[in-house]
Amino acid sequence: MSDNMPKKNFLSFQLDPKLFEPATQEEKEQQVQMRESVSFMKDAMRRLYKNKLSMVCIIIIVVIMLIAFIAPSVYPYTYEAQDLSRKYLEPFEYSQKEQAAIDAGESVFPHLMGTDALGRDYAIRVIYGTRISLLVGIFAAAIVIVFGILYGSVSGYFGGKVDMIMMRIVDVIYALPDVLIIILLSVALKDAISKSSSELVMKLGAGMVSIFIVFGLLYWVGMARQVRGQILSIKEQEYVLASRAIGASPARIIRKHMIPNCISVIIITAALQIPSAIFTESFLSFLGLGVSMPMPSLGSLASDARTGLVSYPYLLLCPALSIFLIVLSFNLLGNGLRDAFDPKLRS
């Protein structure tokens, strides 16, 4: 029974005996799809592109920036021109004087957001306010990135006593309430600014100058901490040891190996720092401690809107919407960046 088992049994499997021939390498590889290895940066950017929400945010931010920086040069109204005959117009409404002009054949550019209590076109004021907010945001981001990276990487790289002292300083600075100091400084500088020779400084006002100074002194500590943390963990990696073994200088190691690995942390922290800076500026302007009149800030516009709030809610809603859109876009973008660069942190 056992020895003369005919090959026929094999066939009765209903399987082709040819299938029992060895498989070739190509056939094996067909079964397996290998994923191409991509560099970290490219991989992260690809994930970011796929994230539609983040892409929309980037577009919104770019559009807002374009409007804020370019529109004032082409817009037919200025932010200071008062005209009491056209006060409190609703968006797209025309004053009697303007209506008469239109009927007579002139073209009058519509007031996209109406006018305020003094007849100034509101849209251009909101645009100027947006410009201020964006400037503050960009400046803050720049300071935070430059100082934060410098300080953090030096502290993290050298470690030991240097790190300890530097971090103690950071701890103290971190504990200082920044808004209070800004306010303090702006009061102190009010006098000095009004006597200043620089026109730019005068136009900005004590509030803005204080904001910039305090940003430069205090705002970068969060970033410094993050960068230092990253550097400390990277320092232990072997490729750093290898670099040192072949004689690379600290500056070179920091620049070529450590910072590229911190990029994700840097970008994310910066993106989330911008809304905070914008909030601070608008908050101070709301209280009257930011930009000086008549330069509008989204905060001061919101504050002025309080008189006549019930009758003319658009005076509040327009600047409010502007801040909301900018900050929301940066927040969502920050989240998107975080998901793209470090999917492990994804919630």
């Binding site: 701890d171 103290v172 504990a175 200082l176 309430p177 808004v179 209070l180 100091i181 306010i183 303090l184 400084l185 009061v187 102190a188 006098d191 000095a192 809304p275 909030f279 608008s282 908050f283 709301f286 209280l287 009257g288 401690l289 905060g299 919101a302 504050s303 809107a305 309080r306 709030l309 019930v310 809610p313 509040l316 409010a320 801040i323 909301f324 900050v327 929301l328 927040n331 969502l332 919630s347």
Partner: protein, 308 residues
């Protein structure tokens, strides 16, 4: 109590005190860097009057001496005399304002923490569901709105249009809108913090161990998950305090609350230097104190952190 913990408390306390002294110094020297005298901006006075006033308020002595005097006085709770509200001491004014601000601020803080943790945990537990999605959308929106926008909108909708709540603080129910306005941002922030922390904890191995022991789900969450998830929320307590104190400046302004924030703004507009210094230092002390408390609480909740 364990001695290492005591040592930690003392160390943190010293740090806090150091920072407070630093803030006082910064405040003091910044204010005194102003060339103008605090009196020259008021109605025109003769130089002699200004000199006399300065002597009365002690502004004629050399600055470092003034600083030490000031420091000494602060320890005795003497913050000097107000120049804008003549006759009142800075301390009394602060005390009066604090009573109001504390009520509003404290309630807002508690509201923010409790509801924040609650919504955050629910969103994490029902991950992916409609509650989670709603929570994420709403908190993202709220976190993108500055306090004055929220406050003004609440004022408009609930105070003026719907007339559900009075808009002045001294009327009954008048504290509702200010409290709500102050708590919106921290509530949204804490919700997101709690949610992501909870999600993080729920994915940890020890939660799996707890389940593997046969514990019921509620026990796993309330005993094992929650305690671990609270750490980031506790760390936020300090910044939240700072937010509430500075936010009160705006909210009190909008709803006419006679609190500390409004006092601060007014003393600024009237350039009452003693008041400005006093309030700044007081607010800073509050913030630093809160940071200190949250550091200690953090250690109580999570015994792992480095005591050194």
């Amino acid at each position: 109590m364990d001695s290492k913990f005591l040592f930690y408390i003392v160390k943190r306390l010293l740090m806090a005190l150091l920072t407070i002294v630093l803030v006082i110094a910064i405040t003091f020297f910044v204010m005194h860097a102003i060339p103008a005298s605090p009196f020259s901006s008021e109605k025109a006075k003769s130089d002699a009057t200004i000199a006399a006033l300065e002597a009365k308020y002690g502004f004629d002595k050399p600055v470092p001496v003034q600083f030490l005097n000031y420091l000494k006085n602060i320890c005795q709770l003497d913050f000097g005399l107000s120049t804008a509200w003549v006759g009142s001491t800075v301390f009394d004014l602060i005390k009066g304002g604090f009573a109001y601000s504390a009520k509003i601020g404290f309630t807002a803080a508690v509201l923010a923490i409790v509801s924040g943790v609650f919504f955050g945990c629910i969103a994490a537990l029902k991950r992916g569901g409609w509650i989670d999605k709603t929570v994420q959308v709403v908190t993202t929106a709220l976190v993108s709105m500055p306090s004055f926008v929220v406050a003004t909108i609440l004022l408009l909708v609930f105070g003026l249009k719907l007339k559900w709540f009075p808009t002045l603080a001294n009327m009954p129910g008048g504290l509702v809108l200010p409290i709500l306005s102050l708590s919106m941002y921290p509530m949204a922030y804490i919700t997101r913090l709690a949610r992501s922390s909870m999600l993080d904890v729920l994915g940890q191995d020890y939660i799996r161990t707890a389940r593997a022991k046969g514990l019921r789900n509620s026990k796993v969450i309330f005993k094992h998950a929650l305690k671990n998830a609270l750490s980031p929320v506790i760390t936020y307590a300090g910044p939240m305090m700072a937010y509430i104190l500075t936010g009160s400046m705006v909210v009190e302004n909008i709803f006419s609350v006679p609190g500390l924030g409004r006092l601060f703004v007014n003393s600024m507009l009237r350039t009452d230097y003693m008041m400005i210094m006093g309030v700044t230092i007081f607010l800073a002390i509050m913030i630093i104190l809160m940071n200190f408390i949250s550091d200690i609480l953090y250690k109580v909740v999570d015994p792992r952190i480095d005591l050194g």
